[in-house]
């Protein structure tokens, strides 16, 4: 397997409380990896270690390694902004920046000094198309992004994340705040994008996991219980706890 992200003996703590226990994982390149498990099992914590978001919460601590392209992202001299640029995040609730629709997508390109002038316009259009939002907003690019519906906002956040040309897309239950149609939109986008990006998705919706996953990680109480290709995990889980979860016992 061609691992894009790898964790080695990864432990995470909130104060003294362990949230991740010895997580060893390999996340395959250009596939959708779904991390599932009941609430509080450490799914989101695991996701946050991949873009170094965990350290934004006070009192968190980490041991072990997380490798992206073989590079330890917690190593010395690593530029955290480069890691976050590499690993785009789609949060639970969309949070447009307090700017226009255009500026939301252009923001990342501006801070990383990637595009200027006409190139910037073209990039904004390209990524809005990629997120499936262009047709709906092309006539009001200068309007406040907060005026969009929540489903549109989430696609705008997707476009904004794609604009800085990440390698990875992390989704933290990105459809949980959306209506079914908007959720479907996002799911479709993720399926379209997986050829170019490695996607890691946290969800507690089993059906969504089955629809999207190429590779599945099942977590329980901070541990990875089972991981493997989606078909294998869904059809013949090796662990009793995975089986119980898939049957809806907890």
């Amino acid at each position: 397997m061609d691992a894009h992200v790898q964790t080695i003996d990864l432990n995470a703590y909130y104060g003294a409380i362990p949230a991740l226990k010895n997580v060893n994982l390999e996340i395959p390149k250009n596939q959708i990896t779904v991390i599932m498990g009941p609430s509080g099992c450490g799914k989101t914590t695991l996701l946050k270690t991949i873009n170094r978001f965990l350290e934004l919460t006070d009192g968190t601590r980490i041991s072990g390694k997380v490798l992206i392209d073989g590079e330890d992202i917690y190593g010395q001299g690593v530029d955290v902004t480069e890691i976050r640029k590499k690993a785009g995040l789609l949060a639970q609730r969309p949070y447009p920046l307090p700017m226009s629709i255009y500026e939301n997508v252009a923001y990342g390109l501006r801070i990383h000094n990637m595009k200027h002038g006409r190139e910037l316009d073209q990039a904004v259009e390209h990524h809005l198309r990629e997120a499936g939002l262009w047709e709906e907003v092309k006539d009001r690019l200068r309007s406040p992004a907060t005026g969009l519906s929540i489903g549109q906002q989430q696609r705008l956040c997707l476009a904004r994340g794609l604009a800085v040309e990440p390698e990875l897309l992390l989704g933290d239950e990105p459809t949980s705040a959306l209506d079914p149609i908007s959720a479907q939109h996002i799911e479709q986008r993720l399926l379209d994008l997986k050829n170019e990006y490695t996607i890691v998705l946290v969800t507690h919706i089993l059906r969504q996991a089955k629809r999207l996953a190429d590779y599945v990680v099942f977590m329980y109480l901070g541990e990875v219980v089972e991981s493997g290709p989606a078909r294998q995990v869904f059809e013949s889980p090796q662990q009793e706890r995975t089986r119980a979860y898939l049957e809806g016992q907890f």
Binding site: T81, L97, M99, Y107, C157, R160
Partner: protein, 282 residues
């Protein structure tokens, strides 16, 4: 059921009473100032400096104090902003919960409570030790000190209201804290920051005690940073202290002008912040 409805109405009544109390105080103050100040207000008051016999009720105006006050409060507010904005961003974005941030907040809260005459005396001693006379510069520095805690704490409060998710949206794109503060947080908080600046300006332009020793008073227009300047609060103070009714009435005119300046700046900044908040989250 009856008790709950009574509760509702009772507290609603208290709220309406409080509103009326505040609104009528404002109305009453404005009424007195307008009623007493308007008759003496004329074109000469606004466009001339005091002539020879002005303090005896003869011709001249308070242009020296109008211009002086605008210079003093404008300069003081600008200086306070230059110092206060980075402080507010430091405690609000860079180190939200650190010990240093707590100490900064505590210091500012104490400074907020220091009476303005103490600032005036402090500025005066500082100037004496540096061999300076009462001057525009001295007044500006003292007013900046007076305004700094008000402005910074007001900005800190609005910056603290910024949802962490919004900052994280910026971090997730690989933004630094500086970019997040000065490109995202500032846009979200701009209306609040403008209010903070206005609050400080209003406090600065209306303060008499802090400029009494530090800026001095003169019948001439401001001549330079190192020359003394007049100010409206002191114009009110001096004129009310004379035994002549005509001059006392002019004190109310000066107060009216002062109130009017604050009013214009309030309305202007409200208009501005409404325009600027178009992009912000609710």
């Amino acid at each position: 059921m009856k008790r709950r409805r009574f509760e509702e109405n009772f507290f609603k009544g208290i709220m309406i009473f409080c509103f009326l109390l505040v609104a009528s105080s404002l109305g009453f103050i404005l009424f007195i100032v307008v009623m007493k100040g308007l008759p003496a207000l004329n074109w000469a008051m606004l466009t001339q400096t005091p002539k020879g016999g002005y303090y005896l009720g003869k011709e001249g105006g308070i242009l020296n104090a109008i211009i002086g006050s605008i210079y003093l409060a404008g300069g003081g507010t600008l200086l306070a902003l230059i110092l206060g904005l980075p402080i507010a961003f430091y405690v609000g974005v860079y180190s939200r919960k650190s010990k240093i941030a707590d100490w900064v907040r505590l210091s500012l809260d104490i400074l907020w409570g220091v009476p303005s005459i103490v600032y005036g005396a402090f500025g005066f001693i500082l100037m004496l030790s540096m061999g300076m006379r009462a001057s525009l510069l001295g007044g500006i520095i003292t007013l900046a000190l007076l305004e700094l805690p008000i402005m910074t704490r007001a900005m800190d409060e609005v910056i603290r209201m910024v949802p962490r998710d919004l900052e994280q949206a910026s971090y997730a794109l690989g933004a630094t804290r500086f970019e997040t503060a000065f490109r995202v947080v500032i846009r979200q908080t701009l209306p609040g920051i403008i209010t903070a600046i206005l609050l400080a300006f209003g406090r600065g332009i209306g303060d008499a005690a802090s400029v009494l020793f530090t800026a001095g008073y003169t019948d001439r227009l401001p001549g330079g940073l190192l020359q003394p300047v007049a100010s409206l609060p002191l114009a009110v103070f001096f004129q009310l202290g004379t035994p002549f009714p005509e001059v006392q009435q002019r004190a109310y005119s000066a107060a009216l002008v002062l109130t009017f300046i604050v009013l214009i700046i309030s309305l202007g900044s409200r208009w501005l912040s409404n325009r600027l908040s178009r992009f912000a989250h609710e």
